[in-house]
């Protein structure tokens, strides 16, 4: 079972909380649960970028990475209060995620235009064909 350390204002209240049953660790959804999902999506995104030869496949991998980052932002904005400056607002995570979606759409459009030119030049979507600057 995972240990959780809860830090409170009064030092004598600090204690280690051990999960008594599996349900205590699994049911109250918290930041670490959502971060685990985000990590799995990010790993899948990196795996896709590294193992695909089709240009669109690499673009799909980039979209996966962006989704993982946006999910991380939303979860952190929901559960992590911080005492930094400037004063955090509750909608911070949402705003970051919306910007990520906007930029992902813009980047997909630009990548598509580039890939259309690539296909026009090489008559294939194989990224191995782009080797004219090699060596």
């Amino acid at each position: 079972m995972k240990r959780g350390v809860r830090i409170s204002a009064a030092p004598e209240d600090n204690q280690e909380v051990f999960s008594k049953t599996a349900m205590d660790a699994l049911v109250p959804i918290s930041l670490s649960h959502v971060m685990t999902v985000s990590v799995l999506l990010a790993a899948a995104g990196v795996g896709t970028i590294l193992t695909k030869r089709h240009a669109m496949g690499i673009l799909i991998g980039v979209e996966l990475l962006l989704n993982a980052a946006a999910l991380n932002f939303v979860a952190s904005g929901r559960w992590l209060p911080w005492n930094g400056w400037p004063v955090p607002q509750q909608a911070d995570g949402l705003v970051f995620a919306i910007f990520i979606i906007v930029l992902a759409a813009a980047e997909a459009a630009t990548a598509l235009a580039i890939f259309l030119n690539f296909y026009h030049r090489f008559a294939s979507m194989d990224v191995e064909k782009a080797d004219q600057m090699k060596g």
């Binding site: 790993a43 590294l50 193992t51 669109m56 992590l80 995570g93 705003v95 906007v102 992902a104």
Partner: protein, 181 residues
């Protein structure tokens, strides 16, 4: 071991957990199906599955507007762009472009190592969630979000507009019809 403990059968926490795990499974299975699949159109469909799962997660986390935006713009815009790209650039239907086995194995290994390291870091970090006994505030209303965009994030909002304009001009120019060369 699977005693419910203090949770009654249909408490809100159990319903939230069931929904969370359902959408999380949808997202993660779709993502890993993309890695393991070879056919580009199947990868686009699995990406749709992943995007739907992530949108569901946004709804479970209380960010309803973001979930709707994700479905409208990501699944209904970016994914459609990708499918258009696949459609416009395919010559032989069903052709599978696969990297060599060694490359794929190395890529999967790197992804697994990265995932393992990040999972370990997530498990080892004590994530402070505020004072014990207080519930962190849920995401607020749409009015708050609008006030954020026109308040603190005004500069970033305007910059995003400029980026979109630049992308429209650039993509339109790069994708123009050329005379036969």
């Amino acid at each position: 071991m699977w005693s419910l403990g203090v949770y009654s059968a249909l408490s809100a926490e159990i319903i939230q957990a069931v929904l969370f795990y359902g959408f999380a499974a949808l997202a993660v299975l779709g993502a890993w199906a993309i890695v393991l699949s070879g056919h580009i159109v199947r990868m686009a469909v699995y990406l749709l599955m992943t995007l739907a799962g992530v949108a569901g997660l946004y709804f479970v986390l209380g960010a309803q507007f973001l979930g709707a935006i994700q479905l409208l713009i990501y699944a209904g815009g970016t994914l459609i762009l990708i499918v258009f790209g696949v459609m416009l650039t395919s010559r032989l239907p069903g052709q599978v472009l696969a990297a060599s086995r060694g490359e794929r194995l190395a890529g999967l290994l790197i992804a697994a190592v990265l995932g393992g390291l990040l999972l370990w870091a997530t498990a080892m970090t004590p994530l402070v969630i505020g004072e014990p006994g207080t519930e962190p505030a849920a995401y607020g209303s749409l009015q708050e979000l609008g006030r954020e965009f026109l308040g603190r994030y005004l500069a970033a909002f305007e910059a995003a507009g400029v980026i979109l304009l630049a992308v429209m001009i650039g993509a339109g120019y790069m994708g123009r019809r050329r005379s036969q060369e």
